[in-house]
Amino acid sequence: MSFKLYKDRSSGENETEVGKVSEAMISEKQKKEYAEIVKQVKPKPRVWRNMFWAFVVGGFICLIGQVFYNYFLRLGLNLNEAGAATSSALVFLAAFLTGLGVYDEVSRFGGAGGIVPITGFANSMVASALEYRAEGLILGVGARLFTIAGPVLVWGIMTAWAAGILYYFFR
């Protein structure tokens, strides 16, 4: 039993397959050869330099986080509260620096050092919100807040849920 994909009016046939929509002119061999040339001409990223600055910038941001954490502990918050307060404080800092137009320079320079810490997560939310303000407060700012941060939340929540379920069945 074959599935009829489409009916061709002029030829009167019922087709069950479609031909591939492809550029038949350029062969796979030509594409591979060109890809080789591109690889030779393409500049290599400055890996060691990037690693160094990612280390310094990322380490520094974590250091600031530690300073906040100790400060909140000294204020009398318990461990969990201090953790939540530290996250909020870092998020506020990143939001403020993003609004000033400064945080993108931190990540441009420090690469993963600016992107991986929670400040990078906050920067992604604020940058999207800021950008789409022109489209209004509901469909602009409201909808776009999570364009970059959304995947992080979705995958984090799903993995955590799976961890909880597995813990329930296998503890």
Binding site: I37, R108, G111, G120
Partner: protein
């Protein structure tokens, strides 16, 4: 039987070469600070250009460029038969809304970054075919509107690779006419869409270089000319790495143009501006052609130019779906008279 004004398979020649009677270029601050800063008619001090949003700013750039071109030619809007324009944004809103402000019969075009050259080629065909006496052509782009649409929000911290290019904030416009004084357009080579399997949106030079090389080689074959006929051959926005790739591809086809080959994306910014591979966008080839290159042609520094507008034909959706990026290149010959 081939058409009477066709050379070979992709090139057309003009019996009465249309004249570029005026050009205008309007840019943002970064372009004004670049090496070609003094060649632009108007330089805005910030990328909002006095408007509320960047999209409106791009419309302001294009409208100002078009009005300036008309003013320099001593023409009114109703002296123009047709307007041909385009830009990078969805549904080419910059061009559409600019046409709304001028009341000239409008043909919207999309060739990505090759739009300026596409409009010059088509505008010339309309004039030499006897369908128009005067045509207004132009194209625009804006760094922030392009980033918003194709890549990331502008305040997001990202590290751009060395092959990435910087979309030019600027618009170029020109008035083409059947009669008048100025440089002329003698030939146009319409490009084919070429896809060599490159898909990195942060390395568009590699995606477009094959199309540029294909059109240049085809132009030589169709016209029977060699590269020494031209004083300068330039592409719209291949950038420094794309230019090297195009040179190599042409060498493979038997053409060595390296002595007289440059690229608008390389000319428009200086190394100190840290734009990595160079400028890009419809505005890139538009403002460099309508400013610097036409100026040099008129000053007698060059006599014959071959310009190839290059475009990367992708959409934000196609890249996410894993598609590769095809390119296109349209060639136009401009000669001094």
């Amino acid at each position: 039987m081939a058409a009477s004004k066709k050379n070979g398979s992709q090139t057309v020649w003009f019996e009465n070469p249309p004249v570029i009677i005026s050009t205008a270029s309007v840019v943002g601050p970064m372009e004004g600070e670049g090496p070609l800063g003094k060649t632009f008619d108007k330089v805005f001090n910030d990328t909002y250009c006095g408007e509320e949003t960047w999209e409106k700013a791009e419309q302001r750039l294009m409208l100002d460029a078009m009005k300036k071109a008309l003013q320099k030619a001593n023409l009114q809007e109703n002296d123009i038969d047709f307007m041909l324009a385009g830009d990078l944004l969805n549904q080419i809103i910059s061009a559409n809304f600019t046409a709304r402000a001028l009341s000239i019969p409008f043909i919207g075009l999309y060739g990505a970054c090759s739009t300026m050259y596409e409009s010059m080629a088509l505008g010339s065909m309309l004039i030499d075919g006897g369908f128009a006496e005067r045509v207004l052509v132009g194209a625009s782009s804006h760094y922030s509107t392009a980033e918003r649409q194709f890549r990331f929000p502008t305040e997001l911290g990202v590290q751009r690779p060395m092959t990435a290019q910087w979309t030019v904030t600027g618009a170029g416009a020109a008035v083409l006419a059947g009669r008048g004084s100025g440089p002329v357009i003698t030939h146009a080579t319409i490009g084919k869409v070429i896809d060599m399997g490159q898909g990195d949106p942060q390395d568009m030079g590699a995606a477009m270089a094959p199309a540029a090389a294909d059109t240049i080689a085809r132009h030589f074959q169709d016209t029977g000319r060699t590269c020494d006929y031209y004083d300068l051959i330039f592409t719209g926005d291949l950038g420094s790495y794309g230019k090297k790739l195009a040179e190599q591809l042409l060498k493979q086809k038997g053409y060595d143009i390296s002595e007289r080959f440059t690229d608008c994306g390389i000319l428009i910014y200086s190394g100190a501006q840290d734009v990595h591979a160079g400028g890009s966008g419809c505005g890139c080839s538009a403002v460099v052609t309508c400013g610097y290159l036409i100026e040099r042609l008129k000053a007698g520094r060059y006599k014959r130019l071959l310009g190839i507008g290059t475009g990367a034909l992708m959409s934000p959706c196609s890249v996410q779906q894993g598609e590769t990026i095809p390119g296109i290149g349209h060639g136009v010959v401009i000669e001094a008279r």
